[in-house]
């Protein structure tokens, strides 16, 4: 009997030890936060977007011109080291929006942003220790929301929601556990990185791994069963298989919940829409629209007409090439501009590129390196420019 109690205690202690290590519980801190400072949503002012206060809540009605919304509180200083946990409650935040903490210090007067876990069931907690810049005097803080990067079309990402309450807490066991709950069981939206690794695909800083904790927990449990209870052979095998299956299913249920949450975000954007309606709803919807304009412009161009494509970033260039299909595109980083005779009569599509400027007097494009390309202007509208090559290059 004593052996059973000792064994049971050892197993419980092992799991508690793991929980303390993996949840990064501050052992010297109290169970509940010694200090906390709660601010209602209405204590924040809109900086970007449109909002109104209702009771204690701040309802964000519309986003700003760049599709983001920013609510801040300024005019009083706090000491960063006093506050370890940020807890925030919101109502009706759509899964298409990403939430960020913004803050500034006397050394960095510009707002700095840190991605936060999406508040499942309306609230979430975040460990401010993970923010390298959260040090010393904080002169202002707030929340920034914008359509999830790489995923959500900016113009349809925003829907009204309310900031209910923001709370700063000193270090505590309860706070550490709530941070872990948000980290391990929160909603992490799809990202381009998701196809390569789950975990690093989250924008917010993450803590220690649940997988490793459960694996070590299972191994420790089996170790106690062997060393204390003397389990061998069939019993040991059954315990090992059983615990492996149990841990696997726990991890799988967690993943399924996450997959369902990611899918709920997808449904929010695309459900009940035909393919023609969904096709333009991509994260780079503006690039898509610009590409359609170019396709319409070049609709009568011969099939073999070469269309050189360049843009400000690799991502934009590659996306533009894809959206421009079936034009006979060639990304300039791969094809170069060829010789004068090779490009004569071909087209050039530039997007957001600052190092190629049109010289109206010389009727050509001049690169920052000094190359000159004679072209006819077909179209110029902000970031989007389309030309037809008309002759050779001159240094």
């Amino acid at each position: 009997m004593l052996k059973r109690i000792a064994g049971g205690l050892l197993i419980a202690l092992w799991w508690l030890l793991l929980l303390a290590i993996f949840c990064e519980i501050p052992l010297r801190a109290p169970l509940r936060p010694a200090q906390h400072r709660a601010l209602p949503g209405s204590a924040f002012d809109e900086k970007v977007g449109r909002s109104h206060s209702l009771d204690d809540e701040l309802t964000i009605d519309a986003s700003g011109p760049d599709h983001s919304a920013l609510q801040v509180r300024e005019g009083e200083s706090i000491n960063a080291e006093d506050w370890r946990i940020l807890r925030y409650s919101v109502s009706g935040l759509p899964r298409t929006l990403e939430m960020n903490l913004v803050y500034r210090t006397p050394d960095h007067p510009d707002w700095q942003a840190v991605s936060l876990p999406w508040p499942v069931n309306g609230s979430a907690s975040f460990d401010l220790n993970r923010v390298p810049g959260w040090r010393g005097e904080i002169t202002g803080m707030g929340l920034l929301e914008f359509p999830t990067a790489q995923l959500v079309p900016p113009e349809v990402g925003f829907r009204p929601f309310s900031v209910d309450r923001i709370e700063l807490q000193s270090a505590s066991w309860e706070g550490a556990l709530s941070v872990k709950r948000s980290d391990w069981f929160g909603y992490w939206p799809w990202a381009l990185m998701s196809i390569s690794a789950l975990g690093p695909d989250a924008a917010a800083p993450r803590g220690r791994s649940l997988v490793l904790m459960l694996a070590l927990g299972a191994v420790g449990t089996i170790g106690v069963l062997v060393l204390v209870f003397g389990w061998r052979n069939r019993r040991l095998m059954l315990a090992s298989i059983g615990s492996a299956m149990l841990v696997w299913i726990v991890l799988d249920l967690r993943w399924l919940a996450n997959l369902a949450a990611r899918h709920a975000g997808t449904r929010l954007l695309y459900t009940d829409k035909s393919w023609d309606e969904r096709a333009p709803l991509v994260a780079d919807s503006r690039l898509y629209a610009d590409a359609l304009r170019v396709r319409e412009l070049l609709v009568d161009a011969p099939r073999q007409a070469k269309v050189f494509v360049d843009a400000a970033t690799d991502y934009e260039r590659a996306r533009l090439v894809y959206h421009l299909l079936p034009l006979n595109t060639g990304p300039v980083n791969v094809t170069g501009y060829g010789t004068a005779s090779q490009r004569e009569g071909s087209y050039l599509v530039l997007h957001g590129l600052k190092d190629m400027n049109y010289d109206a007097q010389r009727h050509g494009l001049v690169s920052l390196q000094g190359s000159f390309y004679p072209v006819d202007v077909l179209f110029e509208d902000g970031d989007l420019r389309v030309y037809r090559f008309s002759g050779g290059a001159r240094q």
């Binding site: 995923l151 799809w190 381009l192 990185m193 998701s194 196809i195 390569s196 690794a197 789950l198 975990g199 690093p200 791994s209 649940l210 997988v211 490793l212 459960l214 694996a215 095998m237 059954l238 298989i241 492996a244 841990v247 696997w248 299913i249 991890l251 799988d252 249920l253 993943w255 399924l256 997959l259 369902a260 990611r262 899918h263 997808t266 449904r267 695309y270 459900t271 393919w275 969904r278 709803l281 991509v282 099939r303 073999q304 070469k306 590659a318 090439v321 894809y322 299909l325 079936p326 006979n328 595109t329 060639g330 990304p331 980083n333 791969v334 094809t335 170069g336 010789t339 090779q342 490009r343």
Partner: protein
Amino acid sequence: MTLAYLIAWIVPLALGSGLWACACGLPTRGASWLAALGGGFLLGNFILALMLGLCHGAVIATLFGRVAIVAATLAIGAWFAAWRWRRGMGQGALYVDVKMSRWGWLMLVPLVLLALRAVLMLDEILLRPLFPWDAWWAWSAQAKAWMQGGVLDPFVDPARWLEQGQTVLRTGTAYNYPPLLASLELWYAMGAGGWIEPLVNLPWFGLWLALLSVSYGQWRALGVPRPHAWIGVYALGSLPLINVHVALAGYADLWITAAFACVVLTWVRWLKYRERGQLILAMTFLVLMPLVKFEGVVWLLCLGTLMIFAAVPPRSRTWGLVAAVGASTLLVAVSYAADLAWLRLARDLLSGANGGRVASRSFDVLRALADGLFLQYNWHLFWFLSFGVIAWRWRRLWHSMPLRLLAGVLALAVLFVLCLFLFTPAAKWAESYTAVNRLVLQLVPLATTLCVLLLRDVRWNLSPAETSVSAVPVPADTGPATPESSAAA
């Protein structure tokens, strides 16, 4: 969904499974049907893509009908041949049936969990426009150009593209990538009647089902009891990174993963039962792998070397090893002489010409690898358990030639991954986590098969008396499959 799109699904399935049945015999039980349909889905799609690849310059408007008729005719011929000449043949396999205990209903839990994710993944594919980077950068760009351009124009290097005359030549960042997947996407786009990305991506869901089906069918034929095979299927089908590659369809990794799985599953059946049809299938999938993705060449070299080694009689093993190494060297030499794209890519990778950098510290690479395998949320407990099972069952591994060979392939592949990331500029993509897990993904079905076979005779709920063994009639060329002979495997 149109009739043409339905045909786009049925034709490759019928063709591939017909050829599978031709090679291995007409399926006679549930598991062998699952193997034929799962493996056949992959085989049929590859063959159709190869057929399309031969149609350079073809007009898209009439291509679908012509290819569908040829493929359907081949499929009917294959099924007729299987029914006429291969009935009652093949499956020199040993199916171990165990009576379910009173806890058997627990097997429903994995089934429900798999079904839940299937619904989520299916709906995700059907709703979302093409999302992952390499998909629209490489394969889908080619397929979209063909589909919307209306002609199967060749993709060429930039120098030729710049020189083009009246014939339309296309280029792109991934102009030298193997075109098999792009052709495959074109097939489904033609069936859908336009570039409708969710319908082009839907085969990734079929591929997931196919991978699970062929694994289950082949494991059962290898003497794995139903509960063990079920758990193996659940383990494989529930891996998060595999689910991601289905839900965010568009990458080639899952196709090469499935091809790798088919090589392993058919090869190990040949090793055990000496069924010639299984060897033919193994060789076919082996040759197809480099056409899906360049790393297929490396897997071909790893697997091919051990396949040649295993094929020669034990007394000639030294010569077998020499032959295997010779064949590998010859392949590399021919690739060099012909300036094949995979070797150019490998050269660029090793020289750092395509943007990589050598690891500043080996520890960083190893840590990134360990993070990917054990800490991140890609694999549940898969790699913990795989190493655990190999350690626990090492005696069984040691005494079984087929299992030793499987472990050898796994070891070679892991060695390749380690060398690639530790000593070449590819280290950059390990440290950034962008490549390491996707490369490891391709080894997962191999590791799963190894573990399932190692655990095959572990009985956790039964006494031996409750186990029954049934062997399907054995063809003349496969040798007897008895419980005694199979126990040695």
